[in-house]
């Protein structure tokens, strides 16, 4: 008798724990997910998020029917959050609006592969019509989980879908899975660095050995660097804790640093920027968020746009216009230049007029996160 009372108490405790958390997780309910993304990604995104909530009514007609989309995000991270914001915007543009005819299930795997596959099982159990997977590892989990049931998967922020075996060598999907790639414009970035720093010889790149995207980007940089008279000095790290030492070591050897979209490194970017600023060494970014927080410049992607493009693909699948297996994965063609005037001033570097004129964004201050 006594035993069963204890069991009951434990069960009650678990339920209470689960209950209070569900109240705290607005993403899984009907409230707009944009608010959470905006909270983490600073002012500009907040503005975009406002647009998202106001725009849909005027732009697209609400499509008949009800849809459920499961969004599985691999890690908590500015670029990936922007992808999600963009994705919902893209769906809204096509008349599939959250809270009206769309239920969004959102889960974040916090960079844990085991969690990723359970998230997918959960989405399937809740009968998601489409699964959106943000970043490579979770896209692979989604593919292997959804394959059985034939639920279409739309991925984004997968740098190399071919290498990840999510698409064939010619770009055709391997199954009911397609999406967008966030492949870095390596050549354009190198060209930009050459214009900014005519005398620089060595570019330092820090990356984490556990991220496949970074490893393939490094190879591409190494192959292309010679064409622009650069030499790449790489420094592989395995955890966030390695970054301070690796940064000190690398900064002693190079003329500038260049960032990839490496999740681990980007999360610790403020630390790297601080160290680099003390030595007056410029740091180049790979996307707009990084320039906002203090990178000198970047030729990079706008992840919100990437997300929008992905959302439109998902809308086609939801409306039944096309199957996922009939669409090749897409990339964003035009990479944009972003620069930070304040950082340039601090470093005593001038952003060449040619670049400044074509800039998609120039920032006059450093946003402190």
């Amino acid at each position: 008798m006594k035993k069963s009372v204890k069991v009951m108490m434990m069960a009650a405790a678990m339920m209470a724990l689960a209950g209070c958390s569900s109240n705290k997780a607005p993403e899984t309910t009907a409230a707009p997910a944009e608010t959470t993304a905006a909270a983490t990604t600073g002012e500009t995104t907040a503005a975009q998020a406002e647009e998202t909530t106001t725009m849909p009514e005027g732009v697209a007609e609400i499509v008949d029917g009800t849809f459920t989309v499961g969004i599985g995000q691999f890690a908590e991270h500015g670029s990936l959050d922007n992808c999600r914001t963009g994705f919902l915007q893209g769906l809204a543009d096509e008349g599939i609006v959250e809270g009206k005819n769309l239920t969004v299930l959102y889960e974040n795997a916090q960079a844990d592969g085991g969690t990723a596959s359970q998230i997918m099982d959960n989405f399937l159990a809740k009968k998601a019509d489409v699964i959106c997977a943000i970043a490579t590892p979770i896209a692979q989990s989604a593919y292997s989980a959804a394959k059985k049931d034939g639920v279409p998967v739309i991925y984004t922020a997968v740098t190399d879908p071919v290498l990840a075996e999510l698409a064939g060598a010619d770009g055709t999907p391997v199954g009911e899975i397609t999406g967008t790639s966030d492949k870095l414009p390596v050549e354009k970035q190198l060209e930009m660095i050459r214009k900014m720093l005519p005398d620089a010889k060595k570019i330092g790149i820090m990356y984490s050995t556990s991220e496949i995207n970074s490893v393939s980007a490094i190879e591409e940089y190494k192959a292309a660097a010679g064409n622009y008279g650069f030499e790449i000095v790489e420094s592989g790290i395995s955890t966030t804790a390695d970054i301070p030492l690796a940064a000190d070591n690398l900064l002693g050897k190079v003329d500038c640093l260049n960032n990839l979209t490496d999740n681990t490194v980007v999360s610790s970017l403020p630390l790297i920027l601080d160290k680099a600023a003390k030595k007056n060494i410029p740091v180049f970014g790979s996307e707009v968020e990084q320039v906002k927080i203090g990178c000198l410049a970047a030729v990079g992607l706008d992840y919100v746009k990437l997300g929008e493009q992905t959302g439109k693909m998902a809308a086609k699948v939801l409306k039944g216009e096309k199957k996922a297996s009939e669409m090749n994965f897409e990339v964003i063609e035009e990479a944009a230049f972003y620069g930070n005037n304040k950082v340039a001033e601090n470093l005593g570097v001038e952003i060449p007029a040619e670049l400044a004129d074509s800039a998609a964004g120039l920032f006059d201050e450093i946003t402190v996160k």
Partner: protein, 294 residues
């Protein structure tokens, strides 16, 4: 139904690893952290071998052997170099991160397009379509049962008796003129072999190797063992190995239930801890005496 199959699949895969943790934690009283490294090691070995065209069934054996070798290293460091148990596990786990990257060549290796034990020509030709959704679970069940029977049989051999004796009363082993260090090494080798085998099966089922997949393996293993053995303690006739397998499934069911109830996936680790602590406290109260190391 999807969720039940999902729970069974995940639970059964981790059950293989939990059988290993059962040996180290329950029998040898050795908190072996190296499983966090041997689990992805099994997956790395598997992904590599499958890409090279090795038969998926053969990879099961080779992954086990690879894990066993790593287990021997943990044992060697502990027994011969006299490093504390927890530390030897941590040392091997850390080293394996680099070794796994070397084995796999990169941090993420997909094998979607290759044949695995779950997806191959033989199965497509011989399994009726109606059974399709259950194939993975059935194959996993077969593997787990084979592992369990082999382990049970091993426990009845001379070497198995010595293994149990080292955990209970190591003076006895010494008085029998046996090297208890050697017995510990064998125990660790088997345990890590099982962890690597679980990694191998996991990799084949999910279709890719990812360097981060081993994080928290040890904690899951411990939870499985403790939940299983404590829950089924009342049923004396149930073998500990069976209890461990049931424990794995119960554990995954709890996690799944928590997600289904609306808990964020980011809170999963907290659930694990609470569940873990709850079971420990509950069973200690039941025992009426607190085990200091549990």
């Amino acid at each position: 139904m999807t969720i039940v199959l999902g729970v069974l699949e995940e639970g059964l895969i981790y059950a293989i690893m939990a059988l290993g943790v059962y040996i180290t934690y329950k029998i040898l009283d050795f908190p072996d952290l190296s499983v966090d490294g041997t689990f992805p090691m099994g997956a790395a070995v598997t992904a590599m071998l499958i890409l090279k065209g090795v038969d998926p069934v053969v990879t099961l054996v080779l992954a086990f052997l690879g894990g066993a070798a790593a287990g021997c290293v943990t044992g060697f460091i502990h027994v011969k170099m006299k490093v504390r148990d927890l530390l030897s596990g941590i040392i091997v786990m850390t080293a394996l991160y680099s070794i796994n990257l070397r084995i796999a060549g990169k941090s993420n290796v997909p094998i979607f397009s290759k044949e695995t034990i779950f997806e191959n020509e033989w199965l497509t030709n011989h399994v009726p379509e109606a059974l399709d959704p259950y194939v993975v679970t059935i194959i996993l069940l077969i593997i787990v049962v084979i592992c369990k029977i082999l382990l049970d049989l091993y426990m009845q051999t001379r070497s198995g008796y010595l293994l149990r004796a080292v955990g209970d009363n190591d003076t006895l082993v010494t008085s029998l003129a046996k090297d208890k260090g050697m017995v510990k090494i064998i125990g660790l080798a088997i345990a890590n072999g099982f962890a690597a085998l679980a990694g191998c099966v996991y990799c084949q089922q999910k279709g890719f190797f990812e360097i981060s997949m081993g994080t928290g393996t040890m904690v899951i293993g411990l939870a499985n063992v403790i939940i299983g053995t404590k829950l089924l303690k009342k049923f004396g006739a149930v073998k500990a190995t069976t209890a461990v397998i049931v424990g794995s499934i119960v554990y995954k069911a709890c996690v799944s239930l928590a997600i289904a109830l609306g808990m964020g996936a980011s809170d999963l680790k907290l659930i694990t801890s609470v569940l873990f602590l709850g079971i420990l406290v509950f069973s200690n109260m039941q025992d009426g005496r607190g085990k200091t190391h549990a």
